[in-house]
Symmetry: C2
């Protein structure tokens, strides 16, 4: 029952991106007095499911807004009881450094398959006009857009696919780097 209550509070947080106030929790769980909420909250705080700040307002704790991070696959998987959690992270914070310049792109084609990037994956791209050798870049070459490894042969920059079926691209007229790939996301 209490897990049900805290689940509703979590849902509220997801929808509104802030914690509910007591009158809102009243409606969420079906109470008719703020005092009942107050007693419920105190129990959740004791169980470390929630936290309160110095002014009494609710703040989500780690179990709430973040995902537990375990060790290696080979180390196994914890049961519900013994949670051997190394750390907890927020995926947004983990993946995105410069939020204003970051975009997600859907991958088309198989030219980066050997780098573990498949068709349908999302790539996290940060807008940038220069890249380091070895970066995966999104670039406009001779009028077309593509995603490839950024390489240099001497002073000549070129793009190399991660698929033996394709050949490196040496720009004839122009090459303009639009973004550098910072991450890959795949959802099953």
């Amino acid at each position: 029952m209490e897990t049900n209550h805290s689940q509703k509070i979590l849902d509220f947080y997801k929808d509104n991106k802030r914690m509910p106030v007591y009158t809102e929790i009243m409606k969420l769980v079906g109470f008719r007095s703020k005092n009942a909420v107050h007693k419920l909250i105190n129990k959740l705080v004791e169980k470390d499911i929630l936290d309160k700040d110095s002014r009494g307002r609710l703040i989500p704790n780690n179990l709430f807004g973040e995902v537990p991070m375990l060790g290696l696959v080979e180390a196994g998987f914890p049961s519900v009881a013994e949670e051997a959690i190394l750390d907890t992270i927020n995926l947004d914070d983990y993946l995105i450094k410069n939020k204003a310049a970051t975009y997600l792109l859907t991958v088309k084609g198989d030219s980066m398959i050997d780098a573990g990037i498949q068709e349908g994956d999302l790539v996290i791209a940060e807008r940038k006009d220069e890249a380091k050798v070895g970066d995966i870049v999104i670039a406009e070459v001779d009028g077309g857009w593509t995603m490839k490894f950024f390489r240099k042969k001497g002073q000549v920059a070129y793009l190399e696919p991660a698929n033996k079926a394709y050949k490196p691209i040496y720009p004839e007229a122009s090459m303009h780097i639009a973004a550098v790939v910072k991450g890959v996301i795949r959802k099953y």
Copy 2:
């Protein structure tokens, strides 16, 4: 300057997982009156950088907490001005359905390399004791932990790696499925 101010508010939101109150914004941007904050906020609201709810409290809008999603790689990349954004998503919400049962694991080894899962990647694993054929599962087989495709030959369940250098695993004594892989994350 105003982008600087809203950046500080965003940072506060990231750190505290809630929006600041006016007195807190005062300290953030160096004002000494709440009224100055009030005028600043109204400007940000007009520019759609922030939103307020009916009680005047701040709520982050899309540009704040979420990441823009563009189309395909081949469609190119927008300049700062012309933002052809299809949608915005929150990565946590996108990737994680059942937060209570979800964990992140670091991948060791190359047995799933042909499925685009490399050593060092993070996998999003949802605790479950049964899997569908074709799922990637984390399982304990004959005492050891492993991540493989879940397959069936007739009624016999077995695990298949995505690497031709390895052979399928037919459990001798026991096989226990601990979790199903729901997603993959790679960070460069």
